[in-house]
């Protein structure tokens, strides 16, 4: 059993100035039977072997959403995913790499810049939001959902940024095509009881502009913290787009 072993061997993909090196690291357990999280392994590797290893983390408690990495090629929240012998840790494959396990994230949020008006005219704030609304503010912005999203893939010539993809130089604009996260943000505005009809409609327009039609035949998104994206984000947006006749029915 792996559990009785005193150590766990993993591989960490590191990238510096466009060059990739795979480093083997042997995690030494700190207690009998310890089952470390991926983040524990990275912290120990930094303390003992690679002092300038670059990776993101914040809360260690699955709240801040910044520590997402790929483990064996699938996006995982590093502070809450246990590693096993032989696991491969690498930066998430859906965004361009800055260094080691750190990817450039800001092109995602920026695509909604100035496209989601705030209800600044709201004069009656004391309204209750429906339960579904609170499903949407569960999102911790971990970007695990970019994995396997055909809409997001349209941003890159070969579907994914390559190891050497340079981040776009003018990042003030953000990516052209959308993703589950930005659609969730649009749907949040639509579900907010204070949103005006005009803004609600413009949110659907924005979703269509970002490539909503990719969702029609897509088997659906997976959320890192378990939000039912298909049910609470994609379906209602597609329905709204269908109803307005701007997108063919499913």
């Amino acid at each position: 059993m792996t559990n009785n072993k005193k150590s766990i061997r993993v591989e960490i993909d590191t990238y510096r100035d466009g060059e990739k090196t795979i480093i083997e690291y042997v995690f030494e357990k700190r207690e009998l039977g310890e089952r470390p999280m991926a983040l524990d392994v990275l912290l120990q590797a930094q303390a003992k072997k690679i002092p300038d290893l670059a990776f993101r983390f914040g809360c260690r408690a699955r709240n801040c959403g910044v520590c997402t990495i790929d483990i064996n090629g699938r996006p995982r929240i590093a502070c809450r995913t246990r590693v096993r012998e032989g696991d491969r840790l690498s930066p998430i494959a859906t965004l361009p790499i800055l260094s080691d396990l750190v990817v450039r994230r800001d092109g995602i949020a920026r695509q909604l810049r100035n496209r989601l008006p705030t209800n600044s005219q709201a004069n009656e704030l004391n309204v209750e939001a429906p339960e579904e609304y609170h499903q949407l503010t569960k999102c911790i912005e971990c970007y695990a959902c970019l994995d396997n999203c055909p809409m997001h893939a349209r941003n890159f010539t070969r579907g994914k940024p390559t190891d050497t993809t340079k981040p776009p130089s003018d990042t003030q604009q953000g990516y052209r095509w959308g993703n589950p996260f930005t659609l969730l943000k649009l749907q949040r505005v639509r579900m907010d009881p204070l949103t005006t009809t005009t803004v609600r409609e413009s949110a659907v327009d924005t979703a269509i502009m970002l490539g909503l039609e990719s969702c029609i035949k897509c088997p659906g998104c997976k959320c890192g913290v378990g939000i039912n994206l298909k049910g609470v984000v994609i379906k209602p947006l597609l329905e709204a787009a269908n109803n307005s006749g701007r997108i063919p029915p499913e």
């Binding site: 809360c59 994230r105 004391n126 503010t137 911790i140 949040r188």
Partner: protein
Amino acid sequence: MVEVRKTIAITWLNYDVIVVGSGGAGAHAAHAAASLGSQVLVVSKDPIGASDTKISEGIATVRASGAVDDSETELSTNLQMAGGDLPLRSITNAFAADSEHAYDLYRVNGLRPSIDTERNKPLSLPLPLGGHTKRRSVGHENCGVAFSHANWQIILQGQNITYIEDAWFLDLAVRKSPNKNEHGHSINEVVGGLIYHAANGELLAVRASAIVLAAGGVSTLYFPKTDTMRGNTGDSYAIAARAGAELVDMEQLQFLPFCLASPPSYEGLLAGEPVTASFLGVLRDKSGKVILDGVYLRTRAECSAAIMRAVEKGDGTENNGAFLDMTANKKAPLSGAYFEKFLATCLPSAYQNVRQALSKKAGRCEEPWEVRPAAHYMMGGIRVDADGASVGGPNGDGVRTKGIKGLFAAGQSMGGLFGANRLGSTSLTEGAVFGARAGRAAAAYSRNSDTTQNVDLIFKPLIATHSQFFGQNGTLSATAIRLALQEESWNKIGPVRTARRLQEMETNLKKWRAKLYKIKTSSSTTWNQSFIDLQELRNMLDAAGLILASAYERTDSLGGHVRLDGKQISSFATPYSVIVRSISDGTYVARRVIRPRTALKKIISYKIQEQKRLLMARWIRLLPKGIQDKILLKRYQAIMGEDLKAQETFPGAPEAAIGELTKP
């Protein structure tokens, strides 16, 4: 291989106001300044919004939300007394005045609390949180994450707001103004700041006449014994101190008493608060001896002190903590079920941590929890007035003409609001209230100042210093020094202190500081981790120096920490705050300023109440089990409703009180 030393590109920019940080304080400052027409740059080293605000329990103080008679004076006095009379009246008054509506900006941007339809206000938790004298704490679905969605909205959709993330604000550019203050001394004024944009691989030299520091706290100095975000490396304090600003109450750190001590992945994360111990919870040392009873009525500080004293005596548990024993609550045949429900609902994320980290039996409270304090919040900070403007000078409140002109602070960065103790749920509101105040003041100031003309020379030395840190030759790593610093900070300037330990810390700090220029860094310009590590280490060293210099002046125990070689400062003693500043690289000077004390009558009546409540708690514990159980059943039902329904309104309260007030 010969390393070719690259030079880093420098881009010059102009803004009216720079806001450092994208948590609650930063977002509110940016919004306020932009609304007054300022061009605002928000700079954040973490991805936009990723901050303590985002990972918080999401409970905010909204004055008058739960009680009609919750006046401004009531709340201001509450903060004042809780803080041991260290807070400034002008600042607690400002908090009390604005805390009814400052939070509305969150709501305009999508934060949706439950509504108390009778009162047409956000629904507050059913009882006052620990230390509050009134019901005024509002909980939210999805905790801090819901606040973060609103901050994201404020920053991303804001007119006149530009933002950059993955960008480290390094230092303020300050010049001695040709103008003199009324005492004939020259005035220091902000002319901009230098930023490392890691994602773009460049330095940004930004000319701006006003800067709001909203860059959070310093708990990472104690990592892994902390529950906060990694980015809390004391940047606000270090940056302000290096520019010559004064800071206040920097020895006052808040430690949460009941955090996890093991397993390692969970070390430091929150397990419970005093109130979760409920009526029968006690603290025990390793041999099972009760070291603190009536836990649910105690402050965070008292519980931390009890645990740390036991550890110091050699009576600590395996991982240097104590046992929080709540098994008596659980065993009671009638009230036990209510306790269980209470525990599971009043603090869901903390309880989740416990169930994941500890044994099944511990999860069901059939076994004590091993707990240990962890760093949570810096109650001191940059010395400011009620509008967040940097102040200085000998008198209690300080004056702007002796501060750094154009420098503002808000949120955890600022001092003067909480003094020796922060009440639960006040910090999210602090960000909204003082973020908005500082943002407005910064916009007004920048409109009337022309400090961005001919200032490029002032940036020169800054650019030179920081360029040196790229591709620095050396043999040491910042990581190794940081790890040593973190361990020593816990032992010497943490929850337990002595004069001797402070001196040892001073020696260590000198040694580490000397090593800063012997750290090897890479010359990469894009996301240079070794450069970032060096910068953050430098900030942590400065912050530790400020804490240390202030701790020397606090010779007895007060607030967040215990002085083993001193006595407990009584509420009747003359209160004083410690003011600290840096006079040269690595040298800090501290002095005391006397604070006015709350009227004796108030303190005495408060003390009597406190004793009464503690006696009551003891009396209940000593009753025969059967009678005890019946009394407790009634109490739980009064709070939670017989059908256990009322607690559905406890969305993650860290200190959702069960019955009595805990004392300030």
